[in-house]
Symmetry: D2
Subunit: 258 residues, 4 copies
């Protein structure tokens, strides 16, 4: 069978390599997760089981791809940041996106039962896109954009579900009451109507989850001497704090190493 006769079709693949020396962000996003979260009775406004599952999948992806130096997740999305000097998969956009989204999805389904005590009703899917940032500032602004977006959504959702769950408003009524209101109004609403100080809500809900590679001093037992010493160990750390201001980055300048 003359394979060579057909092999010319390989040359129709076009190169989709990403410009060198730029930060690469692969953002994955749940497809139809409004329906998915309803079908699986996610707690509203935030389901910690679902968030835990997202984060553990993100850790698995970071464990597989050493060039992902940090990742930011909120709700049903996660952004993976690949260091600017990376040559992973020759920086081919489709290869990077597809491997990351496939591995994430695979872990999501596989680990579902570790976080939920009922089975998946149907298999979920995520899409992925690849965005490229030439400067450290552009990358920080990207992460700030996602965290600001997370904040806006979470404040809204906290109000919305308080109105629905505690005041028995219909979804339409809650939507109508919140339409066009500013942050101040929402903070005041939460406080005066529901006794909720938004700033005391769980940090992971307000700030999302930021994962990054770092080293930690961990105690190691020397069996011969029976003494314990501290050794540096590579870990993926998870924080739920402001990543918009300079403070966070000043303390972790290594994150922006090329």
């Amino acid at each position: 069978m003359a394979q060579s006769k057909f092999e010319y079709v390989r040359n129709f693949e076009l190169d989709d390599s990403i410009l060198k020396n730029c930060w690469i962000v692969i953002r994955i996003d749940g497809k139809g997760f409004h329906k998915f979260s309803s079908a699986h009775n996610f707690v509203k406004p935030n389901d910690n089981r679902a968030l835990d599952l997202m984060n553990v999948c993100a850790r698995a992806v970071m464990g597989e791809f050493g060039d992902i130096v940090m990742a930011y997740g909120e709700s049903d999305e996660f952004s993976f940041v690949i260091r600017r000097s990376s040559s992973l998969y020759s920086r081919r956009s489709s290869k990077l996106s597809s491997c990351i989204v496939s591995l994430f999805t695979s872990h999501y389904v596989w680990k579902w039962s570790q976080f939920f005590d009922f089975p998946l009703a149907y298999p979920p899917a995520f899409d992925a896109r690849c965005v490229v940032y030439p400067t450290d500032q552009n990358l920080r602004d990207y992460l700030s954009w996602r965290q600001a977006d997370s904040h806006i959504n979470n404040l809204y959702n906290t109000c919305f579900w308080a109105l629905v769950q505690k005041k028995n408003l219909s979804c339409k009524e809650a939507e109508a009451q919140l339409k066009g209101t500013l942050s101040d109004y929402k903070n005041e609403l939460l406080f005066s109507e529901f006794g909720i100080n938004y700033n005391n809500e769980q940090p992971r809900h307000r700030k999302g989850s930021f994962l990054f590679r770092t080293t930690e001093k961990v105690p190691v037992l020397d069996k011969r001497t029976n003494s314990t010493t501290l050794k540096q160990k590579k870990v993926i750390q998870e924080v739920h704090q402001d990543i918009i201001g300079d403070q966070f980055w000043k303390e972790r300048s290594f994150l922006l190493d090329p």
Copy 2:
């Protein structure tokens, strides 16, 4: 929180729309499936459970995306063919690739236990690439390339595992014996040494799996009259036959409709 200050980063997304009026092929491929198939004791040279699982996942993907008119699978890879006039996701390459590979992976993990009576040792991943073909002939040549490739690999693997399993050769020895040999030699080897007529091997192993949308006449019972009539119903048909020659396409010219 001034989100607008950061929103400019959205404009760094580059357009990756695919040229109109071309066939779009999304090919997914198992990552590290040599190791994966060993870790899960796949029957060699072909594990029908694994092939069944691949095909059922491909069907699920075709069920979700109506613009996929056909798909060809072999071993741990599947090629999905999107009709040339499709405007699915505005023909954005990364969106198409990522949604298909994610959904496929999700079904693979979710449906594993329908085909295997032991759990996954670890979650598998697939990569995806997008290739574009301007003419019907180019598309047919692509599919021919994959089927020819499948044939070459399967003939080799059938010999290899016969030598290993039935003649107790080591993998290295089997490899050495087959190195550089032609098809005729391999056919003869199978017949004379193992009594195997390669052409009688299972069609799905020799030809791979071709899935395509078609309509079938199915009997429908009219409850009032208690009579049965035949009605057209849309189905995804699966065949294991030659798709290189013209015959297959002459009989199904609708497959190449734009």
Copy 3:
């Protein structure tokens, strides 16, 4: 001087190869030719000197690049069609566009004095874009689009300048009179007011210029026998006729050879 230290910057060039087996159209277009044609007192609505110059430049480009099989020009634009199987410059988009537009421009300035008896007031420029068409029908529709556009513009301009030149309307008045009118109105206007039967206008103004490679039988004198024989010779032929209908292409089916 350590050149190697800097040579890494070459790797920032991204591949812009065009999909194989597609028609490649490079369209060049005069930059600011409204001003340019005024500055050089082009005859309105059509200046045959300027059109002759455009065509002779297009011929020079076709003479240089054998893979350009046809070209269509009107006003200050020209579309060059590169055959679908071409591998000229490895089908790199920027290389093809830039070489063609540069050579065209160079000839335009160099040959100006062959067509105008006064010098250029300032050097003109053209832009270039590259568009890709997967099927013969798409390519024909592209050429039809340009010819239809040419027709619409020329009918309008013929009316406009008749009103200005023969009825002494101001440009604003002429514009106002023609605004929103259909072809029928314009044809009638030309006939009743100016005695012009639009269909008798010069074909090159109504249809634009289509250049294509063909062979012609030319008489060749054999000096020994003093007899004349006809021999095939490659020529670039220029026609001014309808290229929208099928007739033109039926008679020259070779134009669409890959």
Copy 4:
């Protein structure tokens, strides 16, 4: 004439916008200038008339496009650097390349007679490519690469033509003598054989031409008071000096403003 029927072909144009916040370099390069320089008897190794013409064309291009902040030229090539924040032509790669190369070519032909006292034998052409650099360091390294390349070529050419012109070697013999030699050898050859101290050669030949936008204080006469004052004026300055070291850039840090 139903234009709308064909207008769909416009949608086949693919977006080729360049990533934001990156330096854009358009490098043009003479096509077949080995032959062109012979045909026009360019002085070897450097023809100041030809270099003057290149520079005056580059100035014209910079005059037309205000977003080009600097340009570096040597031999028959010129690199134009567009500032990183530019939105000229929506950063469309083909538009930028084609407009620049066309305008450059147009001036080259138009201004030829200002520098040469004989006419062009035939019209020259240039190609253009677009390269993108994310950081200031990458851009500086690009310019260093071109200047280092220029140095290597000019040192070689100075030796080569000295051997040919002053020692009557054939081109082949000169090539053979220089093959594989290092800079030290070439410097020594020039000094000992021809009394040439390479460092005293014209800076424009050794360093190429760097053009950049700056402001200059120019004396302006106030007619009323008949006194002269200095006013800032925008100019394009031309220098022939080292742009590899830090000194040049420290003194002109504004060049790297976004």
